[in-house]
């Protein structure tokens, strides 16, 4: 097989840094913290032409639904400043075709697989979970309750704590206990931390942050909406600060939950922002459209960025931006309104950081090193 031969700049500077890039999302242990974002890599086959997809943390598949789905009419895409708007509408072949063709291929190829599932109803999510339970080769499930391109777009499940919880609870109950269930949340909510806490209480093993932001473009030539679907999901580097903020806020209230961070990651330093904000692993999405080998490049750039800052292990950098310096006043807004369901008492964001430092993060990393 012919593969792309773009050499990352970091590789030209010296030998690849010897960093332990192991990343864990609950029971899913991966040699890389870089995954593909759902909907940006199909089922991995196309990208395997450009880099070895088995080197990824995992392939996160395009969201699978029970039935084949045509998606929305074209135009489905509009370029925006440092981003894009899409209204694909979850086009897909349906779960049976996915299992027969895509999952079978991913297994044969030896890739780790996170299957993203989407449904119109709680019942459809439940059915999907029950069906997937019968198949091997699924390393985790990501529950997409936040796609803005669904018929009832004002009412995506992720917009309310109760609806989000009911989907997560049903998927968790119907999934093999050994398989982590991640839930992908929308940033288009008043308080994402509240939704995340509700999902965690309903059994979510991890939180994926974030899905696209609902947006709109008017074509000034036709003087009509640019997308046939009128509104669409905004992605790309333009939304990165929103995504980093969401990861930060959820990490503050859930110090221990695995977080899969995504939203506009294009470089290793972008990925590092998410890791420092509290993500255990990251997804590369829209950047793939710009650079099909972006996930592999982001991995090596992230390793270099960690090495430059004196980290020997990726895990030591997780949530590092939350650390308290001695003598610093406590931020006033850290404590959540109500305690979390677990019995660890009022949450304190410094706990995880203290552990991380004790585990060997550098006390005083030298950015110039």
């Amino acid at each position: 097989m012919t593969r792309a031969v773009v050499v990352p700049a970091s590789a030209l500077v010296g030998r690849p840094p010897d960093i332990d890039m192991t990343s864990e999302l609950g029971s899913l242990v991966m040699p890389s913290p870089v995954l593909t974002a759902s909907g940006c890599a199909a089922s991995g086959r196309e990208l395997d032409q450009f880099f070895d997809i088995t080197s990824l943390g995992a392939v996160v598949t395009k969201s699978i639904m029970m039935q084949p789905r045509s998606g929305r009419p074209t135009p489905r895409m509009a370029e925006t400043p440092s981003g894009m708007l899409n209204s694909i509408g979850l086009q897909g072949p349906g779960v049976h075709s996915f299992l027969e063709h895509d999952l079978a291929w991913l297994r044969e190829r030896g890739a780790r697989v996170v299957v993203s599932i989407a449904g119109n109803t709680v019942e459809e999510y439940t059915q999907l979970a029950k069906l997937l339970r019968m198949y091997d080769g699924i390393d985790a499930i990501e529950v997409n309750i936040s796609c803005p391109n669904v018929a009832d777009r004002g009412q995506v499940f992720a917009c309310r704590a109760d609806t989000a919880s009911s989907v997560v609870g049903m998927v968790r109950r119907n999934t093999d206990p050994r398989i982590p269930v991640l839930v992908k949340l929308s940033p288009d909510v008043t308080d994402i931390a509240t939704i995340a806490v509700a999902c965690e209480r309903s059994g979510a093993d991890g939180i994926s942050l974030i899905n696209t932001l609902l947006g709109m473009v008017i074509d000034t030539a036709t003087m009509r909406p640019a997308l046939a679907g009128v509104t669409g999901g905004l992605s790309g580097p333009a939304i990165r600060p929103v995504a980093v903020r969401c990861v930060w806020q959820v990490r503050e209230v859930l110090p221990d939950i695995p977080i899969l961070g995504m939203g506009g990651i294009r470089t290793g330093e972008d990925a590092l922002e998410f890791i420092l904000a509290g993500a255990n692993a990251v997804c590369v999405g829209t950047a793939i459209f710009n650079d099909p080998s972006a996930p592999a490049r982001v991995h090596s750039e992230l390793a270099s960025a960690l090495a430059e800052r004196g980290f020997a292990r990726l895990a030591d950098a997780v949530s590092y931006a939350h650390r308290r310096e001695p003598g610093m006043p406590d931020p006033v807004d850290l404590a959540p309104e109500e305690p979390a369901a677990d019995d660890s008492g009022p949450l304190d964001a410094t706990d995880g950081v203290a552990d991380a430092v004790a585990d060997g993060a550098p006390a005083d990393p030298d950015p110039g090193a």
Partner: protein, 296 residues
């Protein structure tokens, strides 16, 4: 298999309102066939324009002094293509290719008519050469709204037995559209296959004229793409499969070349109700268990 290459601009030249760029592209020419395209990234890693621009491959050179190169034709119509048109010799761009499914070539030395609208003619010259190598008669029709939007008139005269030019304003050749000239050209040449590349409306008409005359048509579509490699699902159009079922099909990997009678030209921009997985069909058949559950 496509490759991703850091490319250098070898040369640029103007052709009417278009810019022809020759780019180094090691590993691309060897597997390029007529109808393939390349995806070019706009700017560097700091660029705010993320989406790749797709260009038909106009020509390739396998082993020149620059190694393998590809030629593309750029119409500077937006910020991305303007950036590309402003590149100079020695500048870096990044490209992926060859992409897509190329034109299918006839096994027999049949007569072929090639139809290009505007710079949609770009892939037809390489195609003409390969058809002639197979002993096919090649006739060409090049059309545009006006003379300066034509591409490759002189080259067409070298590549084809006859070249018919049409412009809508009559500034060069016959006044009218390519499809006005198509029946007569096909008649004169006894064409059994029509190849076309250009705007959707033109392709729809070409496919119709070809079908009326019992000819086979191969149309390369120009659909807006985001990734060009089959992962984003932006560039879909309704196409009838071998099983008679209409699906929303990606023009970047299942196209850009389609059999003209398989594309539902009039339905582009819609989801025909009988498409696999269409919302109407879903409503009629019902998603199992969709009554229960949370709806608000």
């Amino acid at each position: 298999m496509p490759v991703q290459v850091r490319s250098e601009v070898v040369s640029t030249r103007r052709a009417g309102i278009y810019h022809v760029l020759t780019l180094t592209a090691d590993g691309v020419p060897e597997t390029t066939r007529p109808g393939h395209f390349v995806g070019v990234a706009i700017g560097d890693m700091t660029s705010g324009l993320l989406l790749r621009r797709a260009f038909s491959i106009y020509g390739v050179q396998q082993r020149g002094i620059y190694g393998g190169t590809v030629d593309i034709v750029v119409a500077a119509t937006g910020p991305g293509t303007r950036w590309l048109a402003q590149r100079h010799r020695g500048d870096q761009v990044e490209l992926v290719g060859p992409l897509g499914r190329p034109f299918m070539l006839p096994r027999e030395p049949v007569s072929c008519t090639l139809v290009g609208g505007g710079y949609g003619s770009a892939p037809l010259f390489m195609l003409a050469e390969q058809l002639r190598q197979r002993g096919c008669r090649v006739d060409m029709i090049l059309g545009a709204s006006t003379e300066e939007k034509l591409f490759g008139v002189l080259e067409g005269k070298r590549a084809a037995s006859t070249v018919t030019i049409t412009t809508e304003d009559g500034s060069l050749g016959e006044t009218g559209r390519v499809t006005d000239a198509l029946p007569e050209v096909m008649e004169r040449a006894g064409s059994e296959v029509v190849y076309a590349c250009g705007p959707m409306g033109m392709l729809a008409s070409v496919a119709e004229v070809a079908a009326e005359r019992g000819a086979y048509s191969q149309c390369a579509v120009e659909e807006a793409m985001a990734c060009g490699i089959g992962v984003c699902m932006s560039c879909v159009l309704p196409v009838i499969g071998n099983d008679g079922v209409t699906r929303m099909v990606r023009s970047c990997v299942e196209g850009p070349v389609f059999q003209g009678d398989r594309v539902r030209w009039a339905d582009i921009g819609t989801i025909p109700p009988d498409t696999l997985g269409a919302p109407e069909a879903a409503k009629r058949d019902g998603v199992a268990g969709s009554v229960a559950g949370v709806s608000s």
